[in-house]
């Protein structure tokens, strides 16, 4: 972080703004990926458990799992879009 602030101190005006935007874009995406990461891991783990316990219900569990993944993943993807919007 010190290196970053030293770097920012050397810049002026627009450059400073661009540097701050670039670094905060990185933080924004990193933070946005934490929750969905935990969520998808938990979801898939539980689904595998369910499929192992009851293989005849595997098709239904898989469909529901993909639905859950799609909803959970949306949060990370919105973070990715924000990353592009503020970083580039």
């Amino acid at each position: 972080m010190e290196a970053l602030s030293a770097l920012v101190a050397e810049l002026t005006g627009d450059e400073e703004k661009a540097a701050a935007a670039a670094s905060s874009a990185g933080f924004a995406y990193g933070l946005a990926a934490i929750g969905p990461g935990i969520g998808i891991g938990y979801l898939v783990g539980k689904s595998v458990e369910a499929m192992a316990r009851q293989p005849e219900a595997a098709g239904m569990v898989r469909t529901t799992m993909f639905l859950g993944i799609a909803f959970t993943e949306a949060l990370a993807l919105i973070g990715f879009v924000v990353f592009i919007l503020i970083g580039l």
Partner: protein
């Protein structure tokens, strides 16, 4: 040091127009629509009484996948009439996604927001229309005032249901497809640039063998994108089926 400059985002997403207002994205989209239509027209013209082979075999596999994997799982037997619509959406999105890994095309048409946004607006109109067709004005009641909730809570529940059903659904459909394909495309560009820069490192020849690592990562990610292209088409279609099924039959 190696000279590695990531190009601005417009450079990796944009091409000069082939002719006015028609660029490579439009070309891929038109090709996807044409290929899908031609494959199924060819398959439909074959004799249905003989054992299927070739293009008809492919088409039957896809239809069966849509019927068993998507419609039966989400809408049940009543939803089988939606198979053509869902299959058109699935084939179009899949054929738009796949150019992301085809050499020389190397661009998924769905990585520009126009195509996902138009498709999800279409889905939005269709599922709201289905709701009004099947339930009349009661669709608003069943979607905004879900049964089994204490009366006082409707102050809180109704705005949330309104936002999540009518505003967030098309938005999240759009962003899911668009951002997944764009992220895959940017990843491929990143590793391709990195391995190219390492292979051409002039000042430090020791770096040249290191370039094999991002190259392997690039190959692995290309394989991964094959999966993502299919999975995103599948998820878009299955969510469409869930939305239409929910609008046709309210939860009791």
């Amino acid at each position: 040091m190696i000279a590695l400059e990531f190009p601005p985002i417009n450079e990796i997403l944009r091409w000069k127009d082939l002719f006015p207002s028609f660029n490579k994205i439009a070309l891929i989209a038109v090709a996807a629509a044409l290929i899908g239509t031609i494959v199924f027209l060819l398959a439909g013209s074959k004799d249905p009484m003989k054992a299927p082979k070739g293009v008809r075999n492919l088409a039957e596999t896809i239809v069966e996948f849509i019927e068993n994997g998507i419609v039966m799982q989400t809408m049940g037997r009543d939803g089988l009439g939606w198979t053509p619509f869902l299959m058109s959406i699935f084939m179009f999105i899949y054929l738009c996604n796949v150019p992301g890994i085809i050499p020389f095309l190397q661009m998924p048409a769905t990585a520009r927001i126009a195509i996902p946004m138009f498709l999800s607006l279409l889905v939005w109109v269709v599922f709201i229309g289905t709701g009004f067709k099947h339930q009349g004005i009661g669709y608003l009641k069943s979607s905004l005032f879900p049964p089994g909730v204490p009366k006082a809570l409707y102050i809180l529940v109704t705005p949330i249901e309104f936002i999540s059903t009518f505003l967030v659904r098309p938005f999240s459909l759009t962003v899911r497809l668009f951002a997944n394909m764009l992220a895959g495309h940017i990843l491929l560009v990143t590793f391709a640039l990195l391995s190219e820069a390492l292979f051409q490192a002039k000042g430090n020849p020791g770096l040249i063998p290191v370039g094999v690592l991002p190259l392997f990562m690039l190959i692995f990610l290309t394989g991964f994108e094959v999966l993502v292209a299919f999975l995103q088409a599948y998820i878009f279609t299955i969510l469409t089926a869930v939305y239409i099924g929910g609008a046709a039959h309210p939860e009791h």
